[in-house]
Subunit: 437 residues, 2 copies
Amino acid sequence: MSLNLTHEPARRSWIESANAAATGFPLQNLPYGVFLSGENHTPRIGVAIGDQILNLAALAELDLLPASARAAGRQPALNALMAAGPAVWTALRVRLSELLGVDSCPAALRTQVESCLVPQTGTTMLLPASIGGYTDFYASIFHATNVGKMLRPDQPLLPNYKWVPIGYHGRSSSIVASGTPVRRPCGQSKAADLSAPVFGPCKNLDYELELGAFVGPGNQQGTSIPLASAPGHLFGVVLLNDWSARDLQTWEYQPLGPFLAKNFATTISPWVVTLEALAPFRGPAFARPPGDPAPLPYLTDPADVAQGGLNLTLEVWLLTREMRAAGVGPHRLSSGNFSSMYWTLAQLLTHHASNGCNLQPGDLLGSGTVSGQAKDARGCLLEMTMRGTEPLSLPGGEERKFLADGDEVILRGHAERPGARRIGLGECRGVVLPAAT
Amino acid sequence: MSLNLTHEPARRSWIESANAAATGFPLQNLPYGVFLSGENHTPRIGVAIGDQILNLAALAELDLLPASARAAGRQPALNALMAAGPAVWTALRVRLSELLGVDSCPAALRTQVESCLVPQTGTTMLLPASIGGYTDFYASIFHATNVGKMLRPDQPLLPNYKWVPIGYHGRSSSIVASGTPVRRPCGQSKAADLSAPVFGPCKNLDYELELGAFVGPGNQQGTSIPLASAPGHLFGVVLLNDWSARDLQTWEYQPLGPFLAKNFATTISPWVVTLEALAPFRGPAFARPPGDPAPLPYLTDPADVAQGGLNLTLEVWLLTREMRAAGVGPHRLSSGNFSSMYWTLAQLLTHHASNGCNLQPGDLLGSGTVSGQAKDARGCLLEMTMRGTEPLSLPGGEERKFLADGDEVILRGHAERPGARRIGLGECRGVVLPAAT
């Protein structure tokens, strides 16, 4: 079987739930995560398929994994698999697709594979990898422009923006798995009309809708990663909520950037969707407006440009305490598309290593807030409410300038196009707890 | 024996080199590091004493460590000892002081301890800990003012400076042990008179003289660390060189702070000098100039203020390729004192955790460039040469605006005062390699 065949939309799994039109986890997806189940208290790598999880460690016990992936498949986190590189990724994807395909898995083998399945219901999903370095970029020109307008109406976009993929280091210790409650942070903020700041609970708590990309093989310190090689260093993507305390951020961020406004928590979705699974969903390329400079040569790769960005629909949903009490489902706040980003994931990675900074397997690159040109494609409340000056009206009559205690933010994402099976990114959820007293 | 007795200046070691007036590693210091020796290819924790290293794993084998420190002493890095907390740190310090003291170690025991000694010559020092999170602060008001003057002559110090201990996340993967060569990074820079940037080797490579503090026990995400408890979370300090590519920094740092200008390499000295060893060297407190605001309550602790900052002399020395060829020793560029910092280490730690950000054992907090008021107390070339406009003259006739290939930067530090033994921080060294072609 070939890698291309793993995308073939006509192929079906013998796991019926994987064939449902609405599933995000068909045979063509095969995302990786780390789970705990009731029977098994050791974290295990699993593959989401329909409403089931295929336990890779159990497959390895039965000697059903490619030899090159056997050791990595038995680890309690994805770092070793990320480090193994594209040849191993492909061999494993092809094997999993065979084992789970209705036409490619003989009955005797199917019985063996069935013994490695765990229902998703009742399992706990953990962080997929041990994240050494977390870097957050700022790759949406629409987000940068909207935010810039509030701070510098005369010069929303700084002169470096169209040349430099702007990024900064985030905090990896406070990255949490989807479903982990997030406590409202305390911190310093200063009202414009007062001369001194105060310390207290954040008043303007926000989410940021981002995509997170996991680094595969790293680079030695002092060496770089040419753009043409970048895809081999990118394992897969998750949804990422870069929780942001806007009032803290405004007061602290000059001159060295965001710090306590961001590092209290970052939430990611549990299933790492590989870039192999997303290969059919490139493009269209983001068209730089006429007059914008071409990227410098180290950020230029005709193949990367021609393929374009990832065509991923990314959404934010909100479920308030009042909505939960009323038995109402979450309300969609926005919907954007990752292909509107000014820089591709490959460009972000190549820029990051261009000075010799050593990236490592399991490092996480946040894209920055994914905002589109349309108002309903803005990826955070700061932009949606214009810094709280235009509150959002929710269906039940509530209003929001920023997040309230009890609010649950739910990020969702998927890729779809005619002639391909829909690929889901799953969900990234987090509920806001009141500040510590 | 009591903790206070471990500082008693009259106490001598039976290791003669530890009693020399000039040593930085007398019986009163006892800093921890991780070393490899010719015989032993496993990283081991060692304690510097005179010109020797005491192997903690070997002491543990002989059952000579306090029970509470035995497991941590056998690890290949200091993280477990850092996590163990002050009671264990004190018990271990007292025991080591007994075992190495001429009057407190019986002859039979001395023979056992002698078998655990390794000469420093011939060993390789590694990073002392696995560093999960590295945060760099900006705690010298003189540095902030000098740098601010170059960027904003009308407003050198931003309005938040005297309220917020400004900091940002650095890159932990590229922190290297003293002696590791550092490759000149490449990156984007833009000349003021050109409309477009170029990509190439950094032209304005700089060092920054800093102190690094290792975090001991951490805090749970969502909880903070009151200032009064901060000392129990601070294990010890090292010298830290925050290599900086000034031309890259100027172009990239707006609006999210330094990134590629810093993350290509950070060098730290091998010996972690504990805050217990430095307890006799507090003060004088940095006196906030009249009119400066008092810190907010969460950053105010009368005891911390009364004790003052750490009275540490910190120096930068330069050894150029030409000086090496001429057989000349390094030239001292500057000498400052850590007590001139605007915030104490305890305040930096408490601020970092004040929003619930979870710190972890082995995290490293950089102080930011240590600059004093005097010109010869400025801790980086950017300040010393006023951005290259006032080149330095070196004794052999060379000039420097910024670092040249082959330059070795050597940071040194020590604490001394009448009535106490001199405590050395050792050295932090790194030589600049030419940029990759």
